[in-house]
């Protein structure tokens, strides 16, 4: 029975045997069937069918339910900013998440196909499916804490960043006098150009004791050298204050600071590193004027953490959590489909000279297409109804930005606003969105039977 046999009355199975026990009338058989069906029909009628119809009708009435307002509630749905955000976000969800989850599921299924310990792997990836989306949300809310000392995701980013661009030795330092100019966190340049034979005096302040590099000694203003520029970079501060711009007793040199020397065209021509007493020297310089600067690396700010739960990134952040939950579902279903592909078809392709990749794209994926579409559609339905995880990952401050249709429906109807008119309209809208899937399901069922 193939797709061609979609008739008005799908042949579910053959009619029951004619040799029903004698004396049992047709009515009696119907009565028995009715008895078996009654509890289900009553429950479905009162809790599903009737309310669904009520909701559709209710969506045409005002909040109080005493005025027929035509499509006013739907109009509100498409004109209120908060609800529009919900629709936009949900559109993003549908556009991104099912595709990602299905692809990841396919990749995992293929990767594990010929691995002996695949069961262990599948169990691990599938596990999040068993826990509540609320708990998954809590888990990811912890993962997303902004402080890299606490939030796992930001800690991982900080660890990678620490290798690529390490934190500066003096992230908080500021110039002690207006002679040094530059933006906070970047290179500080001595305003007046220097000629060889002059001494650069680079005072920094706002350095906490803990940040003073190890081995720092009393700062010294070095003597001038005729063919070079010498200088000192030091902590222009001592208990009690001290005089700005003057190297005084009790003020420490800042060792290990990188200094840059630039010629008059602004080109960097040399670097030097300060010694324990803060002194440095650029030697054997030609005549001319030079500028001295403290390298920006010194002031590189520590990684403050990505604000995952803020208004900008909240929706992608929740999507990642959701993909983490659902990837296992896609993987398990697709793996079952993969196992059902006849080996000889793949062998034939390979014998004909197809590469692994060609076999995968030209043979495996087309054969998996029905399974892939089931996974995809399942995800679309679930993503349209996404609710719990948004509520638990998004803190109340960014819930408006993370809004989705199901959450909007709930908030409009039950959290204070109690506008059952608009609430019903949102629910009806959601229903309309899943309606095509309903048609699809019915068609698939009829084909199967």
């Amino acid at each position: 029975m193939s797709g061609a046999s979609v008739s008005a009355e799908p042949p579910l199975r053959e009619a029951p045997p004619p040799d029903v026990p004698a004396g049992e009338s047709r009515w009696r058989r119907w009565l028995i069937a009715a008895a078996f069906l009654a509890p289900a029909v009553i429950l479905l009628g009162i809790w599903v069918v009737y309310p669904a119809i009520r909701t559709i009708i209710r969506s045409f009435f005002n909040a109080a339910g005493d005025h027929f307002v035509w499509f006013a509630n739907f109009e509100e749905l498409f004109t209120t900013d908060l609800l529009l955000t919900a629709i936009k976000n949900n559109a993003l969800w549908v556009a991104i998440v099912p595709l990602f989850v299905t692809s990841i599921g396919l990749i995992f299924a293929v990767l594990t196909e010929r691995v002996r310990w695949s069961v262990a792997f599948k169990t691990v990836v599938f596990m999040p499916m068993a826990i509540s989306l609320l708990a998954a949300g809590v888990i990811w809310r912890l993962m997303y804490i902004q402080d890299p000392n606490q939030g796992t995701v930001n800690a991982a980013i900080a660890a990678v960043k620490g290798v690529v661009e390490p934190e500066g030795a003096l992230p908080t330092a500021e110039p002690s006098s207006p002679q040094l100019v530059g933006n906070p966190g970047s290179t500080l340049t001595l305003k007046t150009p220097l000629d060889p034979g002059q001494v650069a005096v680079l005072g920094l302040s706002a350095i906490p004791d803990a940040d003073v590099p190890e081995g720092a000694k009393q700062a010294v203003k070095p003597p001038a050298k005729p063919d070079g520029i010498t200088g000192v970079v030091w902590r222009d501060f001592k208990p009690g204050g001290g005089k700005i711009g003057k190297v005084e007793k009790g003020e420490l040199g800042l060792p290990g600071v990188t200094l840059e020397l630039k010629d008059s065209s602004g080109k960097q021509i040399a670097t030097a590193t300060s010694a324990a007493d803060g002194t440095f020297a650029f030697e054997r310089l030609a005549q001319g004027s030079y500028t001295v600067a403290i390298s920006g690396d010194t002031f590189a700010q520590p990684f403050a953490g990505v604000d995952w739960l803020g208004d900008q990134l909240i929706t992608p952040a929740i999507m990642i959590a959701y993909i983490w939950v659902w990837a296992g579902f896609a993987m398990v279903v697709i793996a079952a489909g993969l196992a059902a592909i006849p080996r000889d078809v793949l062998e034939a392709a390979r014998t004909d000279g197809a590469s692994e990749w060609q076999t995968f794209i030209r043979v495996t994926v087309p054969l998996l297409a029905p399974i892939l579409s089931v996974v995809f559609i399942t995800l679309v339905i679930n993503v349209l109804k996404v609710f719990d995880i948004v509520l638990s990952v998004a803190p109340s401050s960014s819930q408006d930005d993370a809004n989705v249709i199901a959450l909007a429906m709930w908030r409009v109807s039950f959290s204070g606003q109690n506008d059952f008119g608009v609430g019903s309209a949102i629910a009806t809208f959601l229903f309309l969105l899943v309606l095509p899937v309903l048609a699809l399901n019915i068609r698939r069922f009829r084909r199967e039977v």
Partner: protein, 297 residues
């Protein structure tokens, strides 16, 4: 002598070659294994993070992340769990969750099994159409029922009751349950039923003595699904309960003042997911079978 020597010399060469090939083969696959280990660890980290956080004191939580425990295992403590156990409202919430879950698992299975039997093996007019309606109801979002049922529950006194929550879960679990069981029941050999009928067994007797025992694998799958859905539910309980609240709602209410109460939320969340996980591990086979049988909901 020379021949023997040559033979001896040749033999290890052959072995060596196959060992080399073996190593090569393993090496060729190594990237895949490494990648899978990496992904597996990646997938585990969030849950492990929650668990280890739940073992830390509030002071340690604010001092740094859960990975501290690896360098200082001594900071691990069950203090949060002890506090949780003494927290009356959370204990009640767990108990409520259990009540709702048991009711909303048993009831739909019984009702759906009856209906599924009728759909599979009884003959009555309009059977196919009725079944198509059931399939249609599979995708009706439960948001469609929230508002009318809210009013209905308030009118008949089912609002804020365990029974009200059970009935709602039962009704919305039925379409999938009927679909799954009917598809399983229809595969039961026809001869078995016919001979039972000829022997004069009543339909109810056939149902209890033949269909239910034979349908046990499908019923097991269904029970696990229904259990997980209701245990993990938030939306329904949030809408139809106020004082009657399962653990998910209790955690959510703590969540609104996040940061200050991680030491409650982390262990409570972990407790809430430990039972579903146990069920999942114990009955993984049925879970996956059920998933494959009806991944439509």
């Amino acid at each position: 002598m020379a021949v023997a020597e040559a033979g001896v010399r040749v033999a290890p060469q052959v072995v060596e070659e196959s060992v080399a090939r073996k190593i090569l083969r393993v090496l060729a696959k190594a990237p895949v294994h490494l990648l899978l280990v990496f992904i597996g660890v990646l997938w585990l980290i969030p849950t492990i993070g929650l668990f280890l956080t739940s073992l830390m004191s509030p002071a340690d939580i604010s001092a740094g992340g859960w990975w501290q425990i690896f360098s200082k295992p001594s900071i691990a403590t069950l203090e949060s769990y002890r506090a949780l156990w003494e927290n009356e409202s959370l204990r009640t919430a767990l108990l409520t969750t259990l009540e709702i879950t048991v009711g909303a698992t048993v009831l739909p299975i019984v009702i759906a099994a009856l209906a599924a039997y009728a759909f599979a093996w009884l003959d009555f007019p309009g059977r196919d159409w009725l079944f198509i309606i059931v399939i249609g109801l599979l995708v009706v979002p439960l948001q469609m029922a929230l508002i009318p049922i809210f009013s209905f529950y308030n009118a008949v006194g089912l609002f804020d009751t365990v029974l009200g929550l059970i009935l709602f879960h039962t009704a919305f679990g039925l379409p999938f349950a009927i679909f799954l069981l009917r598809n399983f029941f229809i595969g039961i050999p026809k001869d078995l039923l016919e001979s039972a009928r000829i022997d004069g067994a009543s339909e109810f007797r056939i149902f209890t003595r033949l269909i239910l025992p034979l349908g046990l694998p499908a019923i097991a799958s269904l029970a696990i699904f229904q259990f997980l859905w209701t245990w993990n539910d938030l939306l329904v309980a949030l809408t139809f309960g106020r004082d009657v609240r399962p653990i998910t709602v209790a955690i959510l209410s703590q969540l609104s003042e996040f940061g200050s109460s991680i030491e409650i939320i982390a262990p409570a969340s972990f407790i809430s997911l430990i039972l579903p996980l146990a069920v999942f591990f114990a009955f993984q086979r049925y879970f996956v079978q059920g998933l494959l049988a009806g991944s439509v909901k």
